[in-house]
């Protein structure tokens, strides 16, 4: 037991200052937080837009919902490979943009040190937007029709009915979706690994990619430190986020 304690102490004392001093730790932390925030925003925007679009219960909308659930079923790794192929400089997306602009377009979507993190977050959000859509649809269904009807009779416009009556009643769905999106992207790995592998120049190297890389290089101390940091970070972020969202539900 004494021996174990020493090993752990040695791990902690050597790895942490080294990681902190060369900036790797804070860099990976910052990238992870930016990634998680972007995914949470995009996934909820897409999911909500889809839910509002496909709200009415007819056969067309039911079929459309099923299509939007296909990415949720697919492996995130497979989704990553699909978008790696689509977003190549000579890939499908540039092909279509080129056809619309009528001149060749060859932007390297996954090789931009500033914007690639946004692109990867969009892909992650694309994979999970179907689930958010379902949760928002369930939330929209819980709103009693007579309240909406009453507001309409009172002369409230469509917009106003929406913002004043329906959106507050969606609070539980928002809580669930924001929390799952944040936690899912903090623990993200597959999508980033399959699209960029952490590049270009490690600008998309989120914590789990870092852990994977250092573990592969046999740097166990660094990998352990990072996985401990990830644990603390998610714990620190998750409790206040869930608390805040719950609080908001109570007020409304």
């Amino acid at each position: 037991m004494y021996y174990n304690k020493e090993v752990f102490a040695a791990n902690g004392t050597t790895a942490t200052p080294e990681l902190a001093s060369n900036g790797t730790l804070f860099r990976a932390l910052r990238i992870t937080i930016v990634y998680a925030a972007l995914v949470a925003v995009f996934q909820n925007l897409f999911g909500f837009a889809l839910a509002v679009l496909l709200e009415r219960d007819n056969w067309l909308n039911r079929v459309a919902r099923i299509f939007f659930l296909i990415p949720v079923l697919m492996s995130a790794l497979a989704v990553g490979y699909i978008f790696q192929a689509l977003l190549k400089p000579t890939g499908g997306v540039n092909e279509m943009i080129g056809a619309i602009l009528r001149h060749p377009f060859d932007y390297a979507w996954l090789a931009d040190t500033t914007w690639t993190i946004v692109v990867v977050a969009l892909i992650h959000a694309w994979k999970w937007m179907g689930l958010s859509m379902l949760i928002y649809l369930a939330g929209l269904n819980t709103i009693p029709e007579d309240i909406v009807e009453a507001a309409r009779i009172d002369g409230a416009s469509r917009w106003r009915t929406f913002w004043a009556i329906r959106s507050p009643l969606l609070a539980p769905a928002v809580t669930f979706n924001v929390a799952t999106a944040l936690l899912g992207s903090m623990n993200g790995f597959d999508v980033v690994q399959a699209t960029t592998g952490g590049g270009p120049a490690r600008t998309t190297e989120i914590l789990n990619i870092f852990i994977y890389r250092t573990f592969g290089q046999g740097l166990f101390a660094q990998a352990t430190t990072m996985s401990l940091v990830l644990f603390l970070l998610v714990a620190l972020m998750a409790f206040p986020v869930i608390y805040l969202l719950r609080k908001r539900e109570e007020i409304l």
Binding site: F68, L73, S75, L77, I82, G91, A138, R158
Partner: protein
């Protein structure tokens, strides 16, 4: 704000909505899936630079057959089953048994145990430490070690869902069932298990598609479908062989899509039923 304006607004939306919905499906889902199918049907030369064009000659079945044999897909498929089935059965059984007691016996100790039990929803597993622990226990690289890790990760979700649900069932209902001769196990199976649909579906998806934890715990020893895809796509056999990668993606996604297509109504109502309470 006069009513005719509101009505015409609604009429416009009613006309435009189907068009927007179809355009959304085609652009957002159709194009990526189209890419998968046409690329999986191309020859190696054509697939070198994957684009949206149709293949000159359809090689879809050849490519699927090649993936099936070369990448040892059946072994990976059974590896996945070997891990997913016990994991899901285990989390459902143990998680809901624990949840029932935690919901029904309100003691201080149980409150603490409940808080501990659901903390795993939020706290991520410190993966390297887990691997080192498994090595000490001699379980690293085994299916049992992998199942244990997943049980630890997902049992919190089950405890959380089931405890919340059991608290909404009046004790009187349970007593009535008992008087009618239904034992606790029958009550549990008939009443609690059906509401676990949301948790079950999400856990199946997460475990079936997981590559990160599987890489650390059983990587190189036991193959699962995502691990196999990861291995063959990132090194050696399939590097830049997009036609084979996408043939693999098709074969790998097929089982889940078929299950979903068959049980689609149940899956959707299952997911939406439990989440927003």
């Amino acid at each position: 704000m006069t009513r005719p304006a509101g009505l015409s607004d609604r009429a416009i939306w009613r006309r435009a909505q189907p068009v927007v919905a179809i355009a959304g499906v085609v652009a957002l889902i159709g194009i990526p899936l189209w890419l998968v199918v046409v690329t999986a049907a191309k020859s190696q030369g054509e697939a070198l630079n994957p684009d949206l064009s149709l293949p000159g000659e359809w090689h879809l079945l050849d490519n699927l057959r090649r993936v099936w044999t070369d990448a040892d897909l059946p072994a990976a498929f059974f590896g996945s089953l070997l891990i997913v089935v016990p994991t899901v059965a285990g989390v459902l059984t143990f998680g809901s048994m624990a949840a029932w007691v935690l919901a029904r016996r309100a003691t201080r100790l149980n409150a603490i145990l409940y808080a501990l039990g659901i903390s795993g929803i939020i706290l991520p597993p410190a993966v390297v430490t887990v691997v080192l622990l498994l090595r000490q226990l001699g379980l690293a690289g085994t299916a049992i070690g992998m199942i244990g890790v997943y049980l630890g990760i997902y049992i919190s979700t089950v405890i959380f869902f089931v405890t919340g649900f059991v608290r909404t069932i009046p004790v009187a209902l349970e007593e009535a069932a008992q008087i009618d001769g239904a034992g606790p196990f029958l009550v549990f199976r008939r009443v609690v298990l059906p509401v676990l649909a949301t948790a079950t579906i999400l856990i199946c998806l997460y475990v079936w598609n997981d590559v990160f934890y599987a890489f650390f715990v059983v990587g190189g020893r036991l193959d699962t479908l995502p691990l196999n895809l990861f291995r063959v796509a990132s090194a050696g056999l399939y590097l830049n062989n997009w036609h084979l990668i996408f043939a693999y993606v098709i074969l790998m996604s097929l089982p889940l899509v078929v299950v979903f297509a068959v049980a689609q109504q149940k899956v959707i109502s299952g997911i939406t039923g439990g989440a927003v309470k």
